[in-house]
């Protein structure tokens, strides 16, 4: 498996990463290098082996349905630009 230049541009756009055009080719080479390396794992026969979901054999921990959080509105606004009336303020996004 390998990626072409268009795929690199597409992945970058989906991840909201700005990539200069001259960086596309090197980036493609780097990504393909990683993919080649992972490709080697295909040499192992894993037919019939369940995908591992965790390094430890635990059950998913569950919580009771109890409200434990205080009102964090002030703390949440500390790093938020704007923060008017406890709202996060962002550039206008409307469909």
């Amino acid at each position: 498996m390998s990626v072409d230049k268009d795929t690199v541009r597409r992945i970058a756009r989906l991840a909201r990463l700005k990539i200069e055009e001259e960086r596309v080719e090197p980036m493609m080479a780097e990504l393909n290098g990683i993919l080649d390396w992972i490709e080697q794992l295909k040499e192992v026969d894993v037919s019939g082996v369940e995908p591992m979901t965790s390094a430890v054999a635990h059950n998913l921990k569950m919580r009771e349905d109890v409200v434990t959080e205080p009102n964090n509105a002030d703390a949440l606004m500390v790093n938020a630009p704007g923060g008017e009336d406890h709202f996060f303020v962002v550039p206008k996004v409307v469909e």
Partner: protein
């Protein structure tokens, strides 16, 4: 295809077209805390007052699942007669939006908690249609963006972010806007009976994405379009009707339907494409590394199954077994509160048929006129039951019963006391009724002659006597006396 469904074809210039509808319904889970955090879920709280650092996606915060939300999803799955998957997996659905702080939504993709099930809908002609359920999965709700407070900025409130949603996906089994609406009503009734979602569409607790395509009957499905984020039954019907007509026009003029995501403009009643590119649909799902697979025992599912309440279909069957017709039974089970009200009347000792007739003919009409729901209405189930019982006990006539209802509606009070103190009791004293009958007969010799030729005239005399007694005479007794006096056969 049944005849009832065939009649629903939309006529175009090239003949009849069949509408095909599938729905993705988002139901907010009724729970105290969110799906993966201990923040509260109450509607209408101050902005960002119910947000944990998990919900705000602060670095390093980890999700811990709420067991009750899982239970609610299982309960809903059981109510949809669906396959419950003892092992399911949470995935990340990646996209960027201002009200999605993590840049991904935790959802379930390939391995949902609930698999295939079904919902039965009652079509107006009495036919029952089956709508297949494809799956139900658990996911997080997003926050809410407010766009109309500032010219250049949107305000984001994350109170809703992280609340548990059940996304319920149907098969493309509905064949008209009406069927889609009936399905939604039925689904809403089921989740409300189950107590897993409040079904409040205005507050957005229940909203739907609507997939619409059209085809010639018996041909394969055509390309569909998806109308996003609808939260009004009326607009859903309008949107399906508009969109199916639009697609028919495109196809009949030789065009093709492009698969696209649409918005319904409530002002114009039209659908229009969303501006965002189709590329935005590349969600790059992958298993959430912060969460292990969700696994539980069949014994837990069995426990939940044992605690399920009686659902609308079963209730309808039971009401019909008590002698109600299908229509009355459907009206009574459509809303959980209506069914509870009806059953409270039965518990007060009224027979099912009388209670159903009284509610459907008298009380619900008054509620509709006043724009009140059954829980908001001013007359208790016990009071309505007493009124009907008094009719059955020959204490008041059916006509007086309506007057008593009006009095209790306007002033409250105990129906029996009202009948007693206002002298509304039916006159059962034959002597008094005889007197009134004789007076009417003596005053109308010409009518008496006419009635001898035309026995149906007896009804006129009954009416006069009822009027003379202020509606308090027992109509049966009056009728019998008049026939006897006029020498008419029974």
């Amino acid at each position: 295809m049944s005849t009832e469904r065939a009649a629903k074809l939309i006529q175009g210039t090239t003949g009849g077209w069949e509408v095909v509808v599938g729905l993705e319904v988002h139901c907010q889970v009724l729970s105290n805390a969110k799906l993966f955090s201990g923040a509260a879920t109450a509607f209408g709280a101050d902005p960002n007052s119910q947000v944990s650092f998990v919900d705000a996606a602060m670095p390093g915060m980890l999700p811990v699942i709420n067991k009750f939300c899982v239970e609610q999803a299982v309960r809903t799955g059981l109510g949809l007669k669906a396959q419950i998957n003892l092992r399911s997996v949470f995935d990340r659905k990646n996209y960027f939006y201002a009200d999605l702080p993590a840049g991904y939504q935790i959802s379930q993709y390939k391995n949902p908690i609930v698999g295939e099930g079904e919902v039965l809908i009652d079509l107006p002609g009495g036919e029952v249609a089956r709508v297949g359920i494809e799956r139900l999965h658990l996911e997080q709700d997003a926050g809410k963006s407010i766009h109309d407070q500032h010219p250049d900025h949107s305000f984001v409130d994350l109170n809703r972010a992280g609340i548990a949603l059940m996304e319920i996906v149907t098969k493309p089994d509905m064949r008209s806007a009406e069927e889609a609406s009936l399905f939604l009503r039925k689904l809403r009734a089921i989740v409300r009976y189950l107590g897993t979602c409040d079904g409040n569409m205005e507050e957005g607790s229940m909203r739907a994405d609507v997939n619409v395509s059209v085809r010639k009957p018996g041909t394969p499905f055509n390309t569909r379009c998806e109308i996003k984020n609808m939260n009004s039954m009326r607009f859903i019907v309008q949107a399906i009707e508009y969109e199916s007509r639009r697609q028919i026009d495109v196809l009949e003029s030789g065009g093709t339907i492009a698969q696209q995501t649409l918005l319904f403009d409530t002002k114009t009643g039209e659908t229009r494409p969303m501006r965002s590119k189709e590329e935005a649909h590349d969600y790059r799902y992958f298993p959430d590394p912060d969460l292990l697979p969700l696994e539980f025992e069949q014994s837990w599912v069995d426990e939940i199954a044992a605690s399920l309440p009686e659902l609308p279909d079963a209730k309808k069957d039971r009401f019909m077994a008590m002698g109600l017709n299908a229509y009355d039974a459907l009206v009574l089970v459509a809303e959980k509160e209506t069914a509870e009200y009806f059953e409270a009347m039965l518990a007060a000792g009224v027979d099912a048929k009388s209670a159903a007739n009284w509610l459907n003919n008298e009380y619900f009409g008054r509620l509709n006129k006043a724009g009140l729901s059954v829980t908001e209405g001013p007359v208790s189930a016990a009071a309505n039951a007493e009124i009907i019982k008094m009719v059955g006990e020959n204490i008041i006539s059916g006509k007086i019963a309506k007057d008593v209802l009006d009095i209790v509606w306007a002033e409250g009070g105990d129906p029996r006391a009202i009948v007693e103190t206002r002298g509304l009791k039916q006159v059962t004293d034959t002597g008094a009724i005889e007197k009134a009958v004789d007076a009417v007969i003596a005053a109308n010799p010409d009518k008496v002659e006419a009635a001898k030729l035309k026995p149906a005239m007896a009804g006129w005399f009954v009416g006069q006597v009822m009027k003379a007694t202020g509606g308090k005479a027992n109509p049966g007794t009056v009728n019998a006396l008049i026939k006897a006096r006029l020498g008419l056969p029974d």
